[in-house]
Amino acid sequence: MSDLRELYQEVILDHNKRPRNFRTLDPADRRAEGFNPLCGDHLTLFLRLDGNTVAEVAFQGSGCAISKASASMMTDRVTGTTLEEIEALFGAFHAMVTGRPGDTAVSPALGKLAVFAGVCEFPARVKCATLPWHTLQAALKDQKSIATTE
């Protein structure tokens, strides 16, 4: 049960129940869709940019608690950051959730996102956590195709 509590921390359950920035942005500078064909998680991400900085970000969609909380907390975290910072954050996040249990030195830059460290114990759920990030990347690259974790 301890691994499970590690995975579903209160903050994750809270973001699942009350996702932040869960709305559309209209107009939006960027918009991207993410889809996980394995479990049907689906989200649409909306971005407003101010030069090189994410001014506002919101999302819509449906998915499991991990993907929803990940999207919610990601939108909180990346608001006001530069595109370069986001790139580095995604790298750190990815390393954390795919790392070997126990030996992951979590980057301090991740801040609250460190609650997703427990995901690395559940390989089948890694893609749930990273889908919003892949979608964010697609939005920043202005990719037209649907982002997947494949």
Binding site: M1, D3, L4, L7, Y8, L13, N16, K17, L38, C39, G40, D41, H42, S62, G63, C64, A65, I66, K68, F122, A124, R125, C128
Partner: protein
């Protein structure tokens, strides 16, 4: 020698001693997260009894050689084992002759074989292939590929909210343009047992041949291809307590004779020159290359096992599990059962308010309960219900009411955890 009284004649048991059956499956003895393993993902694959494991081991230990070729003793033994398995399949399906029993990798390959040989021969521009809305992707995509190649149309028979095929629509969609009907016997996603007898009869009245996808049906029902009168029947060994990588395509001899080969290679030929190849007789025409001999042997052993336990006993036991699970799981507040057809195999698909199926699967796993979550390779069916995914508990002959209680317990914990 005295004549045995009727009560002493060995017939398969009418009832099933589930505790004894469980002893036959070594994998079920393990603990998961400190809990007994509760394996409820039988629609994905079934566990293997010791007799199947032993048969495979014995084959490799004692009989292994290539089939149909060598004159040495081992090759004869391997051939006897392989062809003996084919005869077991013939009996299990009540096929007319062993030439109608083709070993393939599984249901998927069986459907592809028919689409790529029979389908290509029969379907032309403007023709139609008729499938149902509850097909597994493996009984959709092969026909889609065919239709794209031929300029034909894939038509879909809808189903009701309960998960029952609209037979009125089926009849309406059967037209002179319909060249093949391909329908799933038992839905893997929601458990519906389709009225395949009626489907075959109605199609045949209009001269349309029928392929049945029997992947799910095999472990739940007793199959008689001659009584069904279907033209093709495909299934996978691993869903019938046999190994992966082996399955069967049954086809009526008249069709198989008329069909071109699926793949070329060794074993499927009678003679080869660079100018001309003569194909081997049935079933070898469709079995190019060295087959999965050990797989066939394992499947034969699995069929012996099922016969020994008894189809009637299995069906009675599973009917009890289905009724119990439907009641117990269906009565949990916030749980909605998906698929409530009147005729169902022991499959319970459901969604829980406020808990995504994927999270359910992870939480249940922590209590040793293995269920499947997702779209079950039936995305069109999921779209019909407007769901991205469901949770699915699918039962087999070794499952118990106690395990359904464990499932309920785990579900209630999950609900609590997510505040649902």
């Amino acid at each position: 020698m005295s004549v045995p009284s009727p009560s002493t004649i060995a017939t398969p048991a009418r009832t099933l001693d589930v505790n004894r059956v469980r002893q036959d499956f070594p994998i079920l003895r393990q603990l998961r997260q400190g809990h007994p393993l509760v394996y409820l993902d039988n629609a994905a694959t079934t566990q293997k009894p010791q007799v199947v494991l032993d048969a495979i081991s014995r084959y490799y230990t004692r009989d292994n050689a290539n089939v149909h070729r060598g004159v040495h003793r081992l090759s004869e033994q391997a051939t006897v084992a392989y062809e003996g398995a084919r005869e077991k399949v013939r009996q299990h399906l009540n096929a007319a002759d062993v030439g109608e029993v083709i070993f393939v990798r599984g249901t998927t390959e069986g459907v592809n074989l028919v689409a790529q040989t029979f389908g290509r021969m029969r379907v032309g521009p403007g023709d139609e292939v008729l499938v149902s809305g509850m097909e597994h992707h493996s009984n959709i995509v092969p026909w889609q590929l065919l239709c794209q190649e031929k300029g034909a149309l894939l038509r879909v028979v809808p189903f009701t909210d309960a998960g029952e095929l609209r037979m009125d629509e089926f009849e309406r969609l059967l037209t002179p343009r319909t060249k093949v009907v391909a329908v799933v016997h038992v839905s893997n996603a929601i458990g519906t047992i389709n009225p395949v007898g009626d489907i075959v009869r109605l199609a045949h009245e209009r001269g349309v041949p029928v392929l049945l996808d029997g992947a799910q049906a095999m472990s739940h029902l007793s199959i008689d291809v001659r009584a069904l009168d279907c033209d093709f029947y495909a299934f996978s060994g691993h869903k019938l307590f046999g190994p992966t990588g082996i399955g069967v395509l049954y086809g009526k001899r008249q069709w198989l004779e008329s069909m071109p080969p699926y793949q070329g290679g060794g074993d499927m030929i009678s003679s080869v020159t660079f100018e001309k190849t003569t194909y081997n007789e049935l079933p070898y025409k469709f079995e190019a290359g060295t087959p999965h001999i050990a797989g066939a042997v394992g499947l034969g052993a699995a069929m012996d096992y099922v016969a020994a336990v008894g189809h009637d006993a299995i069906q009675t036991h599973e009917a009890d599990l289905l009724a119990y699970a439907t009641e117990v799981i269906g009565s949990i507040p916030g749980v909605r059962l998906i698929g409530t057809a009147r005729r169902k195999a022991a499959v319970v698909s459901f969604v829980v308010d406020g808990v995504h199926p994927h999270d359910l699967g992870t939480v249940l796993n922590e209590e040793g309960v293995a269920i499947r979550t997702g779209h079950h390779c039936c995305q069109p069916l999921m779209a019909r219900y407007g769901l991205p995914a469901t949770a699915r508990a699918s039962f087999a002959l070794y499952n118990t009411r106690t395990e359904i209680d464990a499932l309920r317990h785990a579900l209630e914990n999950a609900k609590r955890m997510f505040g649902a």
